[in-house]
């Protein structure tokens, strides 16, 4: 690896693991420009970027939950309890405003905690239509995108010029496309990066300015890596909406004889699944992006009768030739809990071995996971054709 590429990778890792340092650096180089906390998973960051802000997707920061316990019930998902804790302990103070466009009730609940604890901070909720099939959905979504644009303009004091918005769209598209290339390569067998490195690459792109991220990632790729092909069992990781699975868990998966070849994680393919059209009205294009994203990788938080996460999963497994699926379900994530039996049923019907792992914000039982993953690997191995 060249000095440039390893320094670039080190920077991405640093940003992914401690976004606050990057945020402070960015702030000192961009006096007077706001840093926005963006909550997953649907907010069009391009609008905020075009207004000169740094839109940072708030990360689960892996600190133990202390004061947050007094704000949200213990049976809220780890990500939302962590958000409440970040706010209560001042770790959220790096942000100037909070913007979200979503409809998971737990996320709305945690945003309400932010609003209550920081009454002088703007905490905006853009209600993008969740029911995607309705004839009036496109109109509703496009009205909300215009509304979000107006909110961003009012908050930043900067107009979102259409030309600038197109530039921002282009910048995010380029960054997404580059990450997608890595994911595609992995699925076709050339795993240039392990799952932890890929997660760092993706997490840092959720935090950084896209132009800067793209430049660093390009540097990283100056040194092409090729993985050694081995006979580990190829697995697809599914789920983990909103926040990243623990790095230790990804390591245990790979240590247990599995190689991750694809995923539909938010800190994975889901995040980069869809580009925004660069022609036509850019605000309309953001509305279409929202709708198309749910078709590219269906999300259990949306209501859409004619697309299925389970169907997507079986197709993805065929494309990547994954031999097994590991469902990573954050404890208490209702959209995932509701959908899980459909996933299980469909994979069973397709004869694809699977394993459900329920993750927690703290204290995940890695050793018991290891045993279960090894068993899955064994099962998958036994299904391999025997060459005589």
């Amino acid at each position: 690896m060249t000095d440039a590429s390893s320094a670039a990778m080190a920077k991405l890792v640093e940003v992914a693991r401690d976004p606050r340092v990057y945020i402070e650096q960015w702030r000192s180089g961009h006096a007077g420009r706001p840093v926005l906390a963006i909550l997953p998973m649907n907010f069009p960051r391009e609008l905020a970027h075009a207004a000169g802000a740094l839109p940072v997707i708030v990360q689960d920061d892996q600190q133990p939950i202390t004061e947050g316990r007094a704000l949200l019930a213990e049976f809220y998902c780890g990500y939302t309890r962590n958000l409440a804790d970040q706010v209560a302990t001042g770790r959220f103070d790096v942000y100037d405003g909070v913007f979200q466009a979503d409809h998971c009730i737990q996320l709305i609940g945690s945003a309400d905690i932010v609003r209550s604890l920081k009454p002088d901070t703007t905490v905006f909720l853009g209600m993008l239509n969740t029911s995607m099939n309705d004839p009036w959905a496109p109109r509703q979504v496009s009205a909300m995108m215009r509304r979000i644009r107006a909110e961003i303009e009012a908050f930043t004091g900067n107009p979102v010029e259409l030309g600038t918005l197109r530039d921002s769209i282009g910048a995010y598209n380029r960054d997404r496309a580059l990450i997608r290339r890595l994911l595609d390569e992995r699925a076709t067998g050339n795993a240039a990066f392990g799952p932890v490195e890929l997660q760092d690459i993706i997490t840092s792109s959720m935090v950084m300015d896209p132009v800067e991220h793209h430049a660093l990632l390009t540097d990283v790729l100056l040194e092409p890596r090729r993985s050694e092909r081995d006979d580990r069992v190829r697995v697809h990781l599914s789920g983990h909406l909103c926040h990243a699975p623990r790095r230790e868990l990804l390591e245990v998966i790979e240590d247990s004889g599995a190689a991750v070849v694809d995923d539909d994680l938010y800190h994975g393919r889901r995040y980069v699944s869809t580009d925004v059209a660069e022609t036509g009205d850019p605000v309309e294009a953001l509305g279409e992006w929202y709708a198309r994203r749910n078709v590219t990788i269906p999300c259990p938080t949306r209501v859409q009768q004619d697309v299925d996460w389970d169907g997507y999963l079986v197709d993805a497994v065929r494309v990547s030739a994954a031999e097994a699926v590991i469902h990573l379900v954050p404890k208490f994530c209702e959209p995932h809990m509701l959908y899980y039996p459909e996933l299980r049923k469909r994979l069973d019907a397709a004869g694809i071995p699977q394993l459900q792992i329920e993750t927690e914000h703290e204290g995940i039982p890695l050793e018991s996971f290891r045993t279960r993953i090894e068993t899955l690997v064994e099962r998958a191995r036994r299904r391999r054709p025997v060459h005589v």
Binding site: I105, V329, Y339, E342
Partner: protein, 456 residues
Amino acid sequence: MLETIEKPAEDKSNRLGITRVGGRLISEYWEDLFTARERGKKIVWYNGGALNPMFQAAGLAWCHGEAFAARLAAQRVEGPAQLAGAEYGYNAELCSYSRTHLGCSVLTLQGTEGDQTGVVGAHDQEVLAAKLPAPDFFVNNYAGCSTGQQWDGISYRVFGKKLPIFNISHPFLWGNRPDAGYLRGEEWEDASKFVAEQLRNLIEFLEQQTGRPFDHDALCESMTHIKRAAELRREGLALCKAKPAPATFWDWIASVAPINFLPGNQELVDYFAAVRDEISDRIDNGVSAVKDEKYRLYFDGIMNWNKLGFLSRKFAEHGVAVLAGRYIQNAFWQEPHLIDTSDPILGMAQHYLLCPTNHGAKTLEYLTLRDCEEYGLDGLVFHSTRTCRAFTGPQRLLAKAAQDKLGIPSIFFEGDVADASFYKDGILESRLVAMLEAIDVRRERGALPDGFSAIA
């Protein structure tokens, strides 16, 4: 760990007699539903806001998913449905209404193999004590809670994606704008119009499903009855501000089903008139709902349906009149003045939006503190409803606001809407006793703010 739940020593509760009539109406409704298909009726399964007047006007039979799950839990026969749900793969931490009802779907499908009677698996009928007919189509009307909305999307899949489904999107009343507030502001107006428009689309959908033109007059008539019933209900609720209280939260819980899904007709009006009259008579005759009422509390959380009678006795045993709650004062056609009976669609849309899980914490704080003051309450009990994140999300904020702004204490206890296993009696008992002692101490010191004077 299993806990032994002992019965309170003496039953000091004095529940309204009229709710037995409500119970009969509810039983008749379900019996009617179980035989609806035999009578040639189409059946709709729905969730969320009370769309029943629409279905009534369309000549349908309707089954409210939460109501059926609540009924099974209240009758303590939810087990087989939850087991079927668990076997199908639903995690025990998932909303117990949804997994009970989805479990019913699974049983329904198992029981209909080869025939179309649509009866929940015949072999399970005894334990289920119910015969839920399979749906002809679904309508989802869930405001506030994304789980409620997704649940029907999953029912649709469980039934093989063959049955039609109509989903209504409800904007969460978040209150971004400076003019936002309860029943006011641009957000409220816009959301009301948007939902009303979807209800008009629902009418078209119902016409397609039934093959008949929708009977708008029948809708107006049904809403006229519902409006009147809701007015009577509010009058009765207001009478409960009297000290000592003539009726309690638990009486109103017993009247949730009638206001939430029974047909809008004269019988419904008569029922709520009788509820109001019984309360009024009690005031005239000095009859109280709790023997030796000593404390007045607020109850926040969806009802723990397995424990309705038990909790009513338990609180009464401690001299507690539970009088108000988000689930009662701020739900179920609670603003009847919004209904224009000659054109009820907008007012209906507004009520659906007013679901108490569809407001930001700011509005909930306004409503909760208002009710605490109006009913002269000494404290709040939060039912930390284990699998309902929609209701529990703002509870800590509400407790803090009551403490900071009104100086009144709260306790939390764990339980669930339809899963008895989450209820911890020891926790409720010890926390309740501690709070009541604290209230006593403050009364002795005379430290309660205005409006919270001791009830001697």
